[in-house]
């Protein structure tokens, strides 16, 4: 065969394979190994919702519903079906028959009532946002749960993700733990018993976690995998090499340094994808202390926003793993993002004119005023970004001194002392902006010591009223209108300088299939994931 014929034959073969892949039967068996750092501190999101915990706990525990697509369309899960009353105040869930816990005991409505009332609402970090309006949970029979709400909660059906409201076994807690309210330190946090497709087999701290198939799982024929293994590899470059060599199959949620993710993504055996995190919506900004001049001045904040080349920031510092921000809601949010919005403008001349007009003239050395910046101590990219911001602001006559702090010092300075000028920060939108956006900007959340709250001291009565309205309106055009107004106000006032929508990059070996299923793919239970 001549080389040309050979290549043609290969091309035909490739097409054939490409067509054949979707039709190929999912294979049963095998192990999926993923790597992440730091290692989880517990096996349940009740203890903390930190990424490493959510990653592993979502395979072990389930909630009432499952979700499909980037917009998180609710599907039956532990609940077979559900009905919602006309006034949106009563939600009735019919539970699935024959579901068993990992220890073989049957799952009933009592477990649901106990989990939501006693565990999730008081102890999950977003429990009160989801279930604060619940006035009663009734269990007329072992397979029926009825939630009664005081006022409508538009995002109520999005609350039943396994990482957000895991259903835990009532019999898994000791009488003492329940009596003393020691849920976060309960034994079950380290030795989980769930209903999910995988159960804990071995957890060697500092090294690995092995999950194995739950043979009594309620979905027939699932999960496909025999095992899910977490390997804890502290060094970023070493994580990349482990994936490159095929020792590890998956590095989820930007587990690899961006440069390495970009390099590996070009290899034929590896996929690097930014899909599958739409339901988290991480948004990064410069959190600005609005308490004193010059930052209390809207014009100054607008000038800072104009002075930063977001595209360059995304492309160079973050290796393209993100998008320039358009406002508080990420553009990937299919329901609430105002699609008319463009990324925030970059215009140095305009920034200089704004500052001149606001009365901040340049001194002899070209400096208008000095600011101190902090940065989130999450790794090198955040340092590079701080250096970049410093250079950008110098061009408009703002001299920035960078101060580096460890995580504890950073949290204290920003959220307890409120003693800072500006700092990089990021939060998640979560599936609904009332959960993820409101908390940072509503004036009732100016609370000393509360982390990821309104540290800026930004208070806007009109905005507060809009947030309350949005929280109580059912999803639809009217609610979207409210969110549009909120986005417009925040884009103009800029209590924080929105910078970038972070795209979590997931890097995996092509032998793994079926990973991306919805907007929280890495927090899904992976029961349909299979390996060659």
């Amino acid at each position: 065969m001549t080389p040309r014929n050979l290549s043609r034959a290969l091309a035909v073969a490739a097409i054939a394979v490409g067509v054949a892949v979707p039709a190929a039967a999912q294979k049963k068996g095998g192990t999926l190994t993923y790597t992440f750092h730091p290692e989880p501190t517990a096996m349940s999101t009740i203890s903390t919702t930190a990424v490493p915990v959510s990653l592993v706990a979502s395979k072990i525990y389930e909630s009432l519903l499952e979700y499909e697509g980037p917009g998180l369309k609710p599907l039956p899960g532990l609940a077979e079906s559900w009905t919602v009353s006309k006034d949106n105040l009563v939600y009735t869930f019919k539970l699935r028959k024959g579901v068993t816990w990992h220890d073989g005991k049957p799952f009933t409505s009592a477990d649901v009532k106990f989990s939501i009332e006693k565990v999730v609402t008081p102890f999950h970090s977003r429990g009160k946002t989801y279930f604060g309006e619940v006035s009663a949970i009734d269990t007329p029979d072992p397979l029926t749960v009825v939630f009664r709400l005081k006022s409508p909660v538009p995002y109520f059906l999005r609350a039943f993700q396994s990482s957000e409201s895991p259903i835990m076994p009532m019999h898994g807690f000791t009488a003492d733990e329940i009596k003393e309210g020691k849920f976060r330190s309960a034994k079950i946090m380290q030795a989980p018993v769930g209903t999910g497709p995988f159960k804990l087999k071995e957890w060697k701290k500092g090294s690995h976690v092995i999950l194995e198939r739950h043979p009594g799982y309620w979905k027939p024929g699932k999960p496909y995998l025999d095992q899910v293994v977490l390997r804890v590899i502290p060094d970023g470059a070493a994580r990349a090499i482990a994936i490159e060599k095929g020792e590890v199959d998956l590095g989820p949620m930007s587990a690899l340094p961006p440069a390495e993710a970009q390099r590996l993504g070009k290899l034929p055996s590896i996929t690097a994808s930014q899909e599958g995190s739409e339901g988290l919506g991480p948004i990064m900004w410069l959190e600005v202390n609005n308490r004193s001049k010059p930052l209390a001045d809207v014009a100054v904040r607008q000038a800072i926003s104009l002075a930063i080349d977001r595209k360059r920031l995304v492309d160079v510092i973050w290796y393209g793993q993100g998008k320039p921000a358009s406002g508080p809601i990420v553009s990937g949010n299919p329901n609430h993002f105002d699609k008319k919005l463009k990324p925030l403008e970059y215009n140095v001349d305009k920034a200089n004119k704004l500052l001149d007009a606001a009365g901040y003239k340049r001194g002899k050395d070209g400096v208008r005023f000095k600011l101190t910046q902090n940065f989130l101590p999450y790794g090198e990219e955040w340092v590079r970004q701080a250096e970049f911001i410093k250079q950008e602001l110098r061009k408009v006559g703002i001299q920035v001194e960078t101060q580096s702090l460890d995580m504890g010092g950073w949290l204290k300075r920003i959220y307890t002392d409120w003693n800072y000028d500006f700092t990089s920060n990021f939060t998640h939108n979560y599936p609904d902006p009332t959960i993820g956006v409101q908390r940072a900007f509503i004036s009732t959340n100016i609370k000393r010591g509360a982390t990821f709250s309104n540290s800026m001291d930004y208070a806007n009565e009109k905005l507060d009223a809009l947030f309350v309205k949005a929280a109580q309106t059912a999803d639809g055009p009217a609610r979207n209108k409210t969110w549009e107004e909120i986005q417009a106000i925040l884009r103009n006032d800029l209590p924080v300088i929105f910078l970038m929508e972070i795209s979590y990059t997931h890097v995996w070996n092509k032998r793994v299939h079926g990973l991306i299923t919805n907007g929280v793919s890495m927090y899904s239970n992976w029961d349909s994931v299979w390996v060659d």
């Binding site: 970023g236 470059a237 990349a240 340094p257 440069a259 390495e260 390099r263 360059r312 160079v316 510092i317 090198e380 340092v383 590079r384 701080a386 250096e387 970049f388 410093k390 250079q391 001194e401 960078t402 101060q403 580096s404 702090l405 460890d406």
Partner: protein
């Protein structure tokens, strides 16, 4: 013969030391005059990231598109400044404490030496990391931290010298004519005790540069300043794809530290000529 000229003649005999001196002078000259000859801000994004050397930027760009040559020049300033200042501070403190301990002896000697041993038992780099982490990384704090972990060796050496000299006849003579202690220490013993201390503190400059590089590499450098260690730290994440980015500042550290060590050796030969003849 003029003692300075004699010193220079002995120093000159050690060819490696002269080579080291030339290299060191070149590095110092680069650090002092460089920013004027090559006025590029080392933090400015001047081009595409990770461009290899030989393009528009002579030594290429780093992960954030910043000029590596500019970083090298400005970084040299910081590295050398911290190296020299930290070792100067450590020498002064060590010399004073060592002199007092060695000359007076007794309880004050015990007190000072136990304190010195306390510092010597803690691994110096770890102590420096702790100090910088507690007192936020600024140039001043880093210099102080390196001085704090470096003075004990000078103190011990100075103490030994003073101990050896304090009962010599010339010192006893000074005491006999009623010379105050301060004058004996400063004018009589110090000139005799100084040569070995100079050798040790010149080598300490090299250690201080390495320590600063180590701190910067770990991300504990002053975030407002570029230094060679910082440049290596930045390049670490792309070691697989852009090895030269770390190798260039690494080579500068090697050259500088080697030069300082050679000069130190030369000083040793020139200041303690009898040692060499042994």
């Amino acid at each position: 013969m003029n003692p300075l000229r004699a010193f220079w003649r002995r120093f000159r005999n050690n060819r490696a030391a002269v080579g080291g001196l030339v290299a060191l002078a070149a590095v110092v000259a680069l650090a002092i005059a460089g920013p004027m000859l090559y006025p590029v801000d080392p933090f400015d994004m001047v081009g595409q990231p990770s461009v290899p050397p030989g393009g528009e930027q002579v030594l290429g760009t780093d992960v954030a598109g910043r000029d590596v040559l500019a970083g090298l020049i400005h970084g040299g300033r910081v590295s050398l400044l911290i190296g020299f200042m930290a070792s100067l501070a450590a020498t002064l403190v060590g010399l004073v404490l060592g002199a007092v301990a060695g000359y007076y002896g007794g309880r004050i000697d015990d007190l000072i030496m136990r304190t010195t041993e306390f510092f010597l038992t803690i691994p110096s780099f770890v102590l420096a990391v702790v100090l910088v982490a507690i007192f936020s990384p600024t140039i001043l704090n880093i210099t102080v931290a390196i001085a704090v972990v470096s003075w004990p060796s000078v103190a011990r050496l100075a103490r030994a010298e003073f101990l050896a000299h304090r009962d010599r006849e010339y010192v006893q003579g000074c005491r006999a004519i009623g010379m105050p202690d301060r004058e004996i220490i400063l004018l009589q013993i110090l000139p005799n005790a100084l040569p070995p201390v100079i050798v040790v503190s010149s080598l300490m400059v090299a250690t201080a540069i390495l320590t600063e590089s180590g701190l910067s590499f770990l991300g504990l450098g002053d975030p407002n300043q570029v230094s060679w260690g910082y440049m290596i730290g930045v390049a670490r994440s792309v070691l697989r794809t852009a090895w030269w980015m770390a190798a260039i500042p690494g080579a500068m550290i090697v050259v500088t530290v080697l030069a300082i060590n050679l000069v130190g050796e030369g000083l040793n030969d020139a200041l303690n000529p009898r040692l060499k003849q042994r």
